[in-house]
């Protein structure tokens, strides 16, 4: 019988005191309180001993610690193949190895000898993958040979396959089931409007416009949904190339002899049975897996990664592809209607363009996006979404009252808020304009206060010039002391352009029911690749990391 109490059965006050004891931060009064609660209480003592056993266990298991795997700021340099860190065969002790009580072989996975062995294995894998990759890429046109996982086809098999592909060229490889808006199909150099029900052939290229979507079924029954501003090229039936945009693939229940393969500018993926989404832009590919697992390799160097269910991976040059926990589901993006843009007090040109770009970044984060204007937003829209992104809106036209009525401050879904007027409504800041939140103009020069934080997106330093001038304002806020404060206006220590609360943190009003990020939207907006948009990408990723997808998500 498990005699160790769950933390949920322990009063939060005691839990906090025990943690403070562990961290060495208790005052004399708090220590006396802790003693008083523990004395003569077997349940609380049991909890205390168990918690301290975790603390001592960490020391004990890591007491022969090697230097850490990487010294880099996350996301800014290539890391070793850290997927191996989860691979028992590389890093030594299987997770379920029996360990005798106090046996000194309870070693960290970072023990020097295993780490060295892991590096040798990784180097060998990279070398063989690189060789196979360059051999596979000799072909100029994917019709001549299918997209191949590195090193797994002989030359004769490839030739036979190419011949078969040519023979099958005229056969449909997919059917376009459903579409919204004017989707174009390019075939043999000619573009025409796609119609629902039409057969699609190998090399057909589908262009989905803004606001549009397309659903198709491959031969072999895997289904794909294309998002807005997406270009997708069909291969020979079990292949596709996502040039940019979003595709969600449902290959569950498929019994395919050969894997389904999706290529992007940065990655090649192989799937047997999975339900996952891929987002691609000029800088990166994001893969988010809802069910099953996806194998992906980075095209630049062949680094491979296995992305399990409930995880996502970023495939890009000089970015760690290590899978990280991530929610799936839909993102709700709330925007202003065009009528509001005409409001005479709201001088924000280019906001339409900026919103479109933020929306695109959401899709290209491999998140399906539901867009609602503030006018049409209802409580039902908030249900079932994994993330809410609040775009900008003009003040005093009734939107504040609507957001209050929707009780967004209590919503147990992560929110990324781009509008400073909404900061106090969500409890993120106080309510006095130009004191607790406000708008800045002119050159955007920033200091990155916590460069190591995932939200900093790899930015570091002070006096960083993001853009030279802006007639339109950009947002800042002054959050509570417990907030993570990431980027501030240069020479304005209280004006934070990016700040965040983790779930449970004390905000200015209430505690955060889920992660919250306040971040500015670049009002220039015209530059799709503006580095400031990386901060929004980081906000999305950080929020989704906290979304529960299974038992283990409760803990992390």
């Amino acid at each position: 019988m498990n005699e160790l109490p769950r933390r949920s059965d322990i009063p939060a006050e005691l839990s906090a005191l025990v943690e403070g004891y562990c961290a060495g931060t208790l005052t004399d009064g708090e220590r006396a309180q802790l003693e008083s609660q523990l004395r003569d209480n077997e349940k609380y003592q049991s909890y205390f001993l168990a918690f301290m056993a975790v603390h001592s266990g960490l020391y004990w298991s890591l007491r022969d610690q090697s230097p850490p795997l990487s010294e880099r700021t996350p996301g800014t340099s290539v890391a070793p193949l850290s997927a191996g860190a989860n691979d028992d065969s590389i890093f030594g002790m299987p997770a379920d190895a029996t360990r005798s009580q106090g046996h000194p072989q309870l070693r960290s996975i970072w023990s020097p000898s295993w780490f060295a062995l892991g590096i040798v294995f990784v180097a060998a894998t990279l070398l063989s993958s690189a060789v196979a990759f360059f051999v596979a890429r000799q072909r100029p046109d994917h019709r001549e040979a299918p997209v191949a996982a590195a090193g797994d086809k002989s030359a004769s098999e490839k030739t036979a396959k190419a011949a078969q592909a040519a023979a099958d060229h005229a056969q449909p490889v997919a059917r376009l089931d459903k579409l919204e808006s004017q989707v174009l199909v390019e075939r043999a150099g000619a573009k025409k409007q796609a119609i629902a029900g039409m057969d699609l052939l190998a090399d057909d290229s589908l262009d989905v416009p803004g606001g549009g979507s397309a659903e198709l079924t491959f031969v072999g029954r895997a289904r794909a949904t294309l998002g807005p501003r997406t270009t997708f090229v069909l291969g020979s039936g079990r292949e596709g190339i996502l040039r940019e945009g979003f595709v969600q693939i449902d290959a569950r229940g498929q019994q395919m002899e050969e894997p389904l393969a999706i290529e992007t500018p940065d990655a090649q993926t192989r799937i047997h049975e999975a339900w996952f989404a891929v987002g691609a832009n000029r800088k990166r590919t994001q893969i988010r897996v809802a069910e099953g697992r996806v194998f992906a390799s980075r095209r630049t160097d062949g680094v491979e990664v296995e992305i399990p269910e409930g995880f996502c991976s970023t495939i890009a040059r000089a970015v760690d592809p290590d899978p990280r926990r991530s929610g799936n589901g839909t993102a709700l993006f709330v925007v202003s209607s065009r009528a509001l843009y005409a409001h005479e007090d709201w001088e924000r040109f280019d906001q339409i363009l900026a919103e479109r770009i933020v929306g695109d970044r959401l899709w290209r984060s491999a998140m399906p996006v539901r867009v609602r204007t503030y006018d049409e937003l209802q409580a039902g829209d908030l249900e079932g979404c994994s993330l809410v992104v609040l775009s900008v809106f003009p003040a005093k036209v009734g939107i504040e009252q609507k957001l209050l009525a929707l009780k967004l401050s209590k919503l147990a879904t992560p929110i990324v808020c781009l509008e400073p007027v909404a900061f106090p409504l969500l409890g993120l800041t106080g309510s006095t304009r130009e004191v607790d939140y406000g708008f800045a103009r002119g050159p955007l020069v920033v200091d990155v206060a916590t460069p190591g934080h995932p939200l900093a997106a790899g930015f570091a330093g002070s006096d960083l010039k993001f853009f030279a001038n802006s007639k339109s304002p950009y947002a800042w806020g002054k959050p509570a002391a417990e907030a993570e404060t990431i980027v501030r206006l240069h020479k304005h220590p209280d004006r934070w352009l990016m700040f965040a609360y983790d779930r449970g943190d004390t905000m200015v009003e209430g505690s955060a029911p889920a992660r919250r990020v306040g971040v500015f939207m670049d009002p220039i907006g015209a530059d799709y690749d503006s580095p400031t948009l990386d901060l929004i990408d980081a906000s999305i990723d950080w929020c989704l990391e906290s979304v529960s997808t299974g038992l283990s998500e409760e803990y992390y």
Binding site: E35, L49, H55
Partner: protein, 192 residues
């Protein structure tokens, strides 16, 4: 056993004294099997690694010095924790450590419970390795810096470009998450 790196450490502590090899081997066998429990008990009372490690070494030496007093029918863990408790009392009685001290009566209660629940605590620590591997890489890195390299929170914060406050918060969440994970792991194992 001679290839166990900890053997050399303990022998160093013992000092390669001229003694009966059989007696020494028997001590080492028991000590190495139970040392994790002794360390765990000491850290419970003195959570800071530097002091805990020093007290652990003192305890190890005293255990060897008093090995003649040990009877085979004794519970080694109870006996060893009793000796550790004396070292802890002496440490806590020093003026500069008094502000961190747990009261004597509470210390007695915790010592007794620690011995009584040692099997569950062993199981918890076995589950800890599995739960550690499930941590995201960035959090494992923090754990490695704080517990492996024994850096202070302030040193880690400086190194990572974070504030101490945010790091305290994150380490709290990591410890709590690991606790939840190991208790769930033990719970699900018990149901099996």
């Amino acid at each position: 056993m001679d290839q166990n790196p900890d053997v050399n450490v303990v022998q160093e502590r013992i000092g390669n004294q001229d003694c009966n090899p059989e007696r020494r081997d028997r001590f080492l066998e028991l000590f190495l099997t139970h040392q994790n429990r002794i360390f765990r008990y000491i850290v419970t009372v003195v959570p800071r690694w530097v002091e805990a490690e020093e007290l652990f070494q003192q305890t190890s030496l005293t255990l060897w010095q008093r090995w003649d007093e040990y009877e085979p029918e004794f519970d080694f863990t109870a006996w060893a924790c009793g000796i550790a408790k004396n070292h802890l009392r002496n440490y806590l009685r020093k003026k500069e450590n008094q502000q961190r001290a747990l009261g004597d009566d509470l210390l007695e209660q915790l010592t007794a419970m620690h011995v009584e629940k040692r099997s569950y605590l062993d199981e918890l620590q076995s589950a800890l390795a599995r739960c550690l591997e499930r941590l995201p890489l960035d959090r494992r890195r923090l754990v490695s810096l704080c517990y492996g390299e024994k850096l202070s929170i302030q040193a880690v914060a400086e190194r990572e470009g974070r504030t101490s406050n945010s790091l305290y918060k994150q380490m709290r969440k990591i410890r709590e998450a690991l606790y939840d994970c190991v208790t769930a792991a033990i719970g699900s194992g018990a149901r099996e």
